[in-house]
């Protein structure tokens, strides 16, 4: 058995109900590290990137990395990959929790779902026993109901990754959720699972993941754990306040998207900040598998409002998506909306973005009164009732407006004749940083292979979060293309290896991660080899997208970002000068003017 891997994947043909085990392609695993890279390679080889995403021709890949299931810091991640029904590009959503390691413990590095089941099913994996079971009794159920029911009929220690009603109803911003609240959130991967009539993959394994050099591995891991525990960013900010610690910061400088990115400061930001959460609704923090950080929040509403519930969240992105971007500053309402998204299995970023677009369309009078009537309350910024109602409408495709919102914000805005009001790239909503105040983020959003994403090239880390002597001026475009390349390659390797990108905030940078990967797998990659692997991953994703019909025209930002200056905070007067950054980016990448990797670039990277 190869070290770091189980050396085996599980291929489920849903159309004929067969399940086959096959050897993992170890040549590809070495080239693409694993997870995101390896899953993309399989998709590129096995599906037509031009296929209809919600048809049986698409495949859904659950891919772990070589560090998933080891005790590497944050080594609990896995990816869900397919062609996205939201963007038409590659979808590669990352999740933590415990499901990825459990799949490895059961003996598999990857699951590939093919075809379409004739009726709702779930997959039950117990070590080498695999069953495709009827799921009629859980179809239509929420995440919590589904997990409780399936665990009761399989194994009390089973880990479950599945969809809620949103995915079943082919909502294009539906996500896949495991462990009740950890989401492979973006790009509508839940809709693809729903299109295949698969409710969940239930997993229980009793094996382990072996590493090549246990002594070296242990030495490197413990050094990294120590560093993560000493870092203020990971130990004080993320552990103490979660990702929500960022709210006050982005609001102070003026890049907290508010009212569908019409403003960058929110008057009620303090009510939904990390400090407020820590002092009021937080019950405890929580960590994923082998995570020394513990950034997740377990919360319960205050009891002082009509919004009552408990669950996990909110993350910073959720506070923006369901809070400031919809003008909602009531903390209980943000929590409740978050819990709803967890139960429906909706991406909180894109669900919030869709509601925010709807609110701006309504604000400008672009939605006819008869459509607005379906909401039952005024669809306006700041109305929490409207947010809850919209989440329900889009999940169950209720009415004309609900059906349109289920298609995502871009298609909604396009339907009403104003696609320019959609705030995103490649039809995927922006994350919680207004790129006008961090121009590298603008380039990152535009070039992200999976559509707008903050984590693919997390330029905030060098434009604002870095120590002053290492920071790039957020208001200039100089050096941003080069920085994006490095950030995109770095993140690609993290997602491929099976660890969380937040570990880098605690010092687990590529120069330290590559040796851990080497000790786990027995490979001997230099730092240069490691970053080249990241570049290889980026380029095959791009190849996938090019073959799906995407090109330079899709590496774009809405006119609000390039023409309308922000008017508040330290960032006032700024817009994103995308064109020159993009030109430099293509040149540095070795791509042609239309964004296709050149033959020389592909040869240099060993991409066949």
């Amino acid at each position: 058995m190869p070290y770091g891997w189980k050396g085996q994947l599980l291929r489920i043909n849903l159309t004929d109900g067969s399940a086959q085990k096959e050897p993992l392609n170890m040549k590809w695993a070495a080239q693409y590290i694993g997870g995101r890279g390896l899953g993309t390679k399989y998709l590129l080889e096995e599906i037509d990137p031009a296929c209809e995403p919600l048809s049986p021709a698409n495949k859904l890949v659950f891919a772990t990395g070589p560090l998933s299931g080891t005790y590497a810091p944050t080594g609990g991640r896995y990816m869900v990959l397919c062609k996205s029904p939201l963007t038409g590009a590659i979808a590669c959503s990352n999740s933590g929790g415990y499901w990825g390691p459990e799949l490895k413990f059961a003996g598999y590095d990857m699951v590939i779902l093919e075809g379409r089941a004739p009726k709702p099913v779930y997959v039950w994996v117990y070590n080498d026993q695999v069953e495709i079971r009827d799921a009629a009794h859980v179809w239509g159920k929420t995440i919590e109901e589904t997990e409780d029911a399936l665990r009761a009929e399989t194994d009390p220690q089973a880990r479950i990754s599945g969809i809620g009603p949103a995915g079943e109803n082919l909502n294009r911003v539906a996500c896949v959720i495991n462990d009740k609240s950890r989401a492979a959130g973006r790009s509508g991967v839940g809709a693809v699972m729903g299109s295949k009539n698969v409710k969940a993959i239930v997993c229980r394994g009793t094996g382990a993941v072996e590493v090549a050099d246990p002594l070296k591995f242990g030495e490197l891991v413990f050094a990294s754990m120590k560093e993560i525990n000493a870092s203020p960013t990971t130990s004080m900010a993320l552990r103490g306040m979660g990702t929500a610690s960022t709210v006050g910061f982005t609001n102070s400088v003026g890049i907290l998207p508010t009212d569908n990115f019409q403003r960058g400061q929110f008057e009620q930001a303090n009510a939904i900040s990390g400090q407020t959460i820590a002092g009021t609704v937080l019950k405890r923090n929580k960590g994923c598998y082998s995570c020394p950080i513990g950034c997740a929040r377990v919360t319960e509403t205050s009891g002082a409002s009509k919004w009552k519930g408990h669950g996990e969240g909110p993350e910073y992105e959720t506070i923006f998506g369901l809070g400031s971007d919809c003008g909602v500053g009531e903390l209980d309402a943000v929590l409740y909306a978050n819990y709803l998204c967890n139960q429906y299995a909706l991406d909180t970023i894109s669900a919030g973005g869709t509601v925010a677009v709807a609110m701006e369309l309504a604000q400008r009078g672009y939605i006819p009164p008869e459509d607005l009537k379906e909401v039952g309350t005024e669809l306006k910024f700041g109305n929490a009732d409207a947010v809850m109602r919209c989440l329900e409408m889009m999940t169950y495709r209720q009415g004309k407006l609900g059906d349109l919102m289920a298609e995502g914000g871009y298609r909604l805005a396009e339907h009403y004749g104003h696609p320019e009001l959609f705030m995103g790239s490649k039809k995927q909503d922006f994350a919680a940083y207004d790129p006008r105040g961090a121009k590298g983020m603008g380039l990152g959003y535009a070039t992200s292979n999976r559509g707008a994403c903050h984590l693919r090239g997390y330029s905030m880390t060098v434009e604002w979060f870095a120590p002053p002597d290492m920071r790039l001026d957020p208001f200039t475009i100089e050096g941003k293309a080069k920085a994006q390349l490095e950030l995109q390659h770095k993140a690609g390797c993290e997602d491929a290896a099976g660890i969380c990108t937040f570990s880098a905030f605690g010092g687990l940078t590529p120069d330290k991660l590559a040796p851990i990967y080497n000790a786990a797998t027995g490979e001997n990659l230099s730092l240069g080899d490691w970053m080249t692997a990241g570049e290889r991953i980026w380029n095959i994703e791009r190849l996938f997208n090019n073959r799906a019909g995407l090109s330079r025209k899709d590496d774009s930002l809405p006119p609000r970002m390039t023409r309308e200056p922000l008017t508040n905070g330290a960032v006032q007067g700024q817009v994103v000068e995308l064109a020159p950054m993009l030109e430099e980016y293509y040149r540095l990448r070795g791509w042609d003017d239309d964004g296709n990797p050149s033959a020389e670039t592909l040869a240099r990277l060993g991409i066949e």
């Binding site: 900010a237 960022t246 102070s252 400090q275 905030f505």
Partner: protein, 77 residues
């Protein structure tokens, strides 16, 4: 001179009365780092400095009525 101070995230622990926003007296000509020292905030934790509507640094010379926001190392989203 009197200024208003906002300590964000876990810097709140350095606030004199535990509240994140408070007024503070400083001698005329004081710079941001004078404030940071006075509060006992380790230099490396005063990572981002915003005065009014300007992102600046520890060398910035303060004026009467300024609002100073200090942000520690944070990340994540």
């Amino acid at each position: 001179m009197k200024i208003t101070v906002e300590l964000q995230a876990y810097l709140e622990q350095y606030a004199p009365d535990g509240r994140g926003v408070f007024d503070c007296e400083l001698p005329a000509g004081a710079r941001v780092w004078d404030l940071v020292r006075k509060l006992g905030v380790p230099d490396e934790l005063a990572n981002v400095v915003v005065v009014g509507n300007t992102a600046t640094d520890l060398e910035y010379e303060l004026s009467e009525g300024d609002r100073v926001t200090l942000i520690p190392p944070i990340a994540g989203g």
